[in-house]
């Protein structure tokens, strides 16, 4: 091949090389190859010394992502805390996905589902009664037991149920029927059944009114919380192992001070006064929450700083989830988020996964 002789030919050659380099970088990024691999977390006979985890490893354990075969390698490399699975056509697809994800993981993923009854990722092949159809504690317990048995058999560890919002005006099927006393008792029975099968139940959506609000105000819905909205949480706080916090801006009995509940230290702090289990954020990429903050980085920091133990981030791009981890790590290093708070969350997570934590 002859050497380029004109300026145009030199420019052409350089541009071809530049395009090849940039193209390769984009491919590498899409494949997750630019995410630095994390060292395996040392586990000694079921015991983990939290001091042996890096800050990034600790924060990664606090994140639950949407799991799929297209990003399995990246999630495993990042050692995120868990994967959430959406609806699939066949039971075998769930079994294969979970088995593949858990293979060779010294710290297993939480595997989570939204199995409420009418919300049912298994509906293509397995039905369950809707919460709205449950009227007795016996039925509620049976529902929890049956769902727990099924979830456990597939390899799930957390179910984002029961809904203890008092009124479902949108789906009309997600809430137990009745007043706060009845809802609390039905929820308690459901939690007992589900957790008896070794699946963590999640009461949601704290502090309530998430299923009745219809009109979003500037992308974030707002509601007034009353004593009866909180009542079910007071009844089941001693038994349920997880609570999910909603994005809505609340006033009244629980006042989020004009910011989304999920990023309010006051709301989560008040929850933690009576509840010692896992506090889980609702999924953080809903546009309302994203747009409430000037930047994604500020939103990420706010969600972790508020005191959530687990953050749901279903962004399909592992690079962005990794960036979130880095942003939060930097906030910890700068003193904006106490590392003790991160350690306390990770301790709860690892203990929930069955480890002894030193």
């Amino acid at each position: 091949m002859r050497q380029p002789t004109t300026r145009g030919e030199w420019i052409f050659l350089n541009l071809v090389v530049l395009v090849l380099i940039l193209g390769s970088l984009n491919i590498a990024k899409a494949q997750g190859w630019l995410i630095p691999p994390q060292e395996p977390i040392p586990v000694d006979n079921g015991v983990i010394d939290i001091a042996t985890l890096t800050l990034e490893q600790k924060i990664a354990q606090m994140v639950i992502v949407h799991g799929g075969p297209w990003n399995e390698g990246q999630w495993k490399a990042l050692q995120v805390g868990g994967i959430h699975l959406f609806a699939k056509e066949r039971q075998e697809l769930f079994e294969e996905t979970i088995k593949s994800f858990q293979k060779n993981m010294t710290i297993p993923f939480f595997v989570t589902a939204d199995l409420e009854g009418c919300l049912n990722p298994f509906a293509a092949f397995q039905e369950f009664p809707a919460a709205a159809d449950i009227t007795t504690t016996t039925e509620a317990f049976e529902k929890g037991l049956t769902e727990g048995q099924y979830l456990r058999s597939l390899g799930f560890s957390i179910n984002y149920a029961p809904v203890v919002d008092l009124d479902d005006q949108i789906w009309t099927c997600r809430s137990f029927p009745g007043n706060e006393t009845i809802v609390a008792e039905l929820a308690r029975a459901y939690v007992e059944g589900l957790q008896q099968e070794g699946v963590i139940a999640t009461a949601k959506h704290y502090p309530g009114k998430t299923l009745v609000v219809r009109d979003p105000h500037k992308y974030i819905v707002a509601a007034t919380i009353q004593e009866e909205d909180i009542y079910p949480y007071t009844v089941i706080a001693g038994s349920v192992k997880a609570v999910m916090v909603s994005h809505i801006i609340t006033s009244g009995t629980i006042d989020s001070q004009g910011i989304p509940a999920v990023t309010s230290p006051e709301v989560i702090g008040s929850l933690k006064q009576s509840f010692t289990g896992l506090v889980i954020s609702d999924e953080i990429n809903m546009l309302g929450l994203r747009d409430f903050y000037p930047s994604l980085d500020e939103m990420y920091i706010a969600v972790f700083k508020a005191g959530n133990d687990i953050v749901l981030n279903f962004n399909e791009d592992p690079n962005e989830v990794y960036r979130m981890i880095e942003v939060v790590a930097e906030a910890v290093e700068e003193g904006d988020i106490p590392e003790e708070q991160i350690d306390a969350a990770v301790r709860k997570i690892l203990e929930a996964k069955g480890f002894v934590v030193r």
């Binding site: 145009g8 395009v19 193209g23 959406f86 962004n315």
Partner: protein, 111 residues
């Protein structure tokens, strides 16, 4: 190589390099989906249907999250609700019009 052709090729390559650089740096680039969304003057509409009940859902973010979790989304015209897409699993369905559907497709949980 003929000089004019080389200039055109070089300009094209420079544009490609610029797009690749912006893509790598996560700079949001306009897409056909975004163009369709902006050109559509309708209001986004989302309905949740369970059994025989159907209810509007004005929280579009939550609608997108719910729809995304369903088994599949199919083009399905509903004349009464004026929606063109249905995302369903079993008896639960989210019905969206084109505006809402294109909006949802742009969210990071859909990509």
């Amino acid at each position: 190589m003929e000089s004019k052709a080389l200039v055109i090729i070089n300009i094209s390559l420079a544009l490609v390099a610029l797009l690749l650089l912006l893509q790598f740096l996560n700079v949001a680039l306009p897409s056909v989906g975004q163009a369709l969304f902006l050109l559509d003057s309708a209001e986004p509409r989302c309905f949740v249907a369970w059994s025989k009940n159907s209810s509007p859902m004005l929280d579009l973010g939550r609608c997108c999250l719910g729809a995304r979790q369903q088994l599949q989304c199919l083009a399905e015209e509903d004349v009464i609700q004026q929606t063109q897409w249905s995302c369903r699993t079993g008896a639960l369905a989210y019905h969206l019009n084109n505006k809402a559907y294109h909006y949802c497709q742009q969210q990071v949980i859909w990509q």
